[in-house]
Amino acid sequence: MSVLAVSWVWAAAAIAVIAGLGIYCIVSRRNMFRMLMGFTMLTKAVTLAFVFGGAFWMNPGLGQSLAIIVIVIEAAVTAVGMSMIVNIYRHYGAVDTSQIRRLRG
């Protein structure tokens, strides 16, 4: 499969752990920076799955091209998310979602 000969089980476990931690970060942390980091981790897990899939099925070009697309979109979303956090901080004076009371329905 590869030079490193990582079995698919280990790869699947690592991808699941990173994705799970990313989802946990998004769901349960209240700091918006942490939430954005959780999103970044989630996209890293997706990228890893693409590249592992490409290597596993002997089509690294396809996995790489999809991974590159995901990485660039991740950077764009992170940049927009950062600017939104800075704006929210300027507006409300807080980056903790529990303190931004005007957003509550």
């Binding site: 030079v3 990582v6 991808i15 990173i18 700091n31 980091m37 590249v51 091209s65």
Partner: protein, 159 residues
């Protein structure tokens, strides 16, 4: 063996992102996660994705996080120093564990499935041939993100 060690280091870095008390340590852990990911990509025969991950994931995003955190006062992060066993945390942990188990199971099952019939090609062939529409869409995403950032930082009357 080296691959398993890299995967374990990645999992450790991911744990550091979620559970480290200082936000700057979390950002550094995120950068380390990107570095380990890019090493793994290179060894899996994906050098272009490795370079992209290293330059964007470990470089650009880490710098962006650090710059943005420096814009925010430190007292904003005092409240989240200790991770408490609250209803939100426990529920989030259960949801995340369930989703992680599902992802792991799906990936494990997917490995035994027959792969889709896609002829292997080099990266330029795929990126500029089969995935040309995606690349054009990527350009639109970057353009939209630039406009979005400009709109968010827009000041009224040049203030």
């Amino acid at each position: 063996m080296l691959g398993v060690i890299l995967l374990a280091l990645m999992a450790l870095a991911a744990l550091g992102v979620v559970f480290s008390r200082d936000l700057l340590y979390a950002v550094i852990s995120l950068g380390l996660l990107s570095v380990f990911t890019s090493i793994l990509f290179y060894s899996l025969g994906a050098p272009y994705a490795s370079i992209m991950e290293l330059s964007i994931g470990a470089g650009l995003i880490t710098v962006l996080f650090m710059a943005t955190i420096s814009l925010v006062e430190e007292r904003q992060f005092k409240g989240e120093r200790k991770l408490k066993l609250t209803y939100l945390n426990v529920t989030g942990l259960l949801i995340a564990a369930a989703i992680a188990l599902f992802i792991g199971w799906a990936l494990f099952k997917g490995a035994s499935a027959e792969p889709a019939v896609i002829s292997p090609g080099t990266l330029p062939e795929i990126l500029w041939g089969e995935r040309l529409l995606d690349v054009l869409g990527l350009g639109i995403v970057i353009f939209t993100a630039a406009i979005g950032i400009g709109a968010l930082f827009r000041t009224e009357g040049g203030k």
